[in-house]
Symmetry: C3
């Protein structure tokens, strides 16, 4: 679990986005929402992908849009809280903080929040069946340059 989180963050921060979908199970859900929307069970407004294919499409779109690398990110992933397990699905919540580093060297907190995850073992490794990224701020950058 810790290893999965470490490798997930590292793949993104190293700009190896093409590897990002592989952290997910074949049948999966990835969404980005705000804490407010999550609490009120409102539909997610920012990002929604419910198949590995959609994750791959998203990476392809990002690559096309961002011909020139303009910024980078640094994920700090916190201590996981194990919430339970049922039918092989492990429920975990993990806080995160992402810093954005602009090309001129300026650094700022890009986002904080928590990953609300459902993990399964698939092909001998732990994978995300579900990763709901719940951002603390309601002002999520809708152009989200990278996966969170």
């Amino acid at each position: 679990m810790t290893r999965l989180n470490a490798e997930y963050a590292r793949a993104i921060d190293d700009d190896r986005l093409e590897e990002w979908p592989d952290f997910f199970a074949e049948s999966c859900l990835y969404t980005v929402t705000s804490a407010d929307n999550y609490r009120r069970r409102l539909p997610v407004g920012v990002i929604y992908a419910d198949s590995k294919g959609m994750l791959k499409d998203r990476v392809a779109a990002l690559r096309e849009a961002n011909v020139f690398e303009r910024q980078s990110y640094r994920h700090m992933v916190g201590l996981p809280a194990l919430l339970g397990e049922r039918d092989g699905l492990l429920r975990v919540e993990t806080p995160f903080l992402v810093v954005r580093i602009m090309r001129d060297g300026t650094m700022a907190i890009f986002d904080t929040g928590r990953y609300v995850d459902g993990l399964v073992e698939e092909g001998g490794a732990l994978r995300f069946r579900e990763r709901v990224v719940v951002c603390d701020s309601s002002r999520i950058d809708t152009l989200l340059a990278i996966p969170l």
Copy 2:
């Protein structure tokens, strides 16, 4: 220890403040001080509670004062350093960083510092006998909206 820290941070960030006193032993000490005061062994100036009842009172006061939720927090808790054990008391120091998220979405570092903890086992679980929150900055918000 890691689990205790993860659950402690999560309870606060999830705004389940009523659960916060339960992370402490029956007989306990919770203080918030600055690194300067801590180094000079000056009396703590910000927050001092030496019973579970005082922790509960503090939460009650916070609830009364903050009728409307105005901001949220995100605790990032670092790697613990185990300093020693004596008579069942475990001495641990753990760095932390807290980000404040305002209602308009603005995020800023609220505080950094270290927890200087004394842990005991009570009722089958690890609890804080002592949690001294040593803030790096001397400019601690005296209105401290939440526990650190």
Copy 3:
């Protein structure tokens, strides 16, 4: 590994810089570079020390230059990714975030990046044979007040 990182960060943040060289093996390399330079395999431009003696000299120089303590730092060290082991050398990458706290209480992100480490066991403890500090930002403070 986690313990070494915790103690390394703690020694620096506690201003026990004299202990810093002891986290390294007798024969060692410590450099600070930017992600851009690292990727292009350009020579490091910021800090380079290839012996424990150079690390000690650096601390001595810092002590002379900084007679008065003006600021402090807080290292948050993330989850390590184990990259491999060969001939007793353990390759690990670990993200970090450093916050600088000025004397007036202002806090700001000082740096983020990753440690690219080669670890060996020496004298019964894990030590850094190599620690390459790869900063995300290219605008590294060349007056770097402290080790990263």
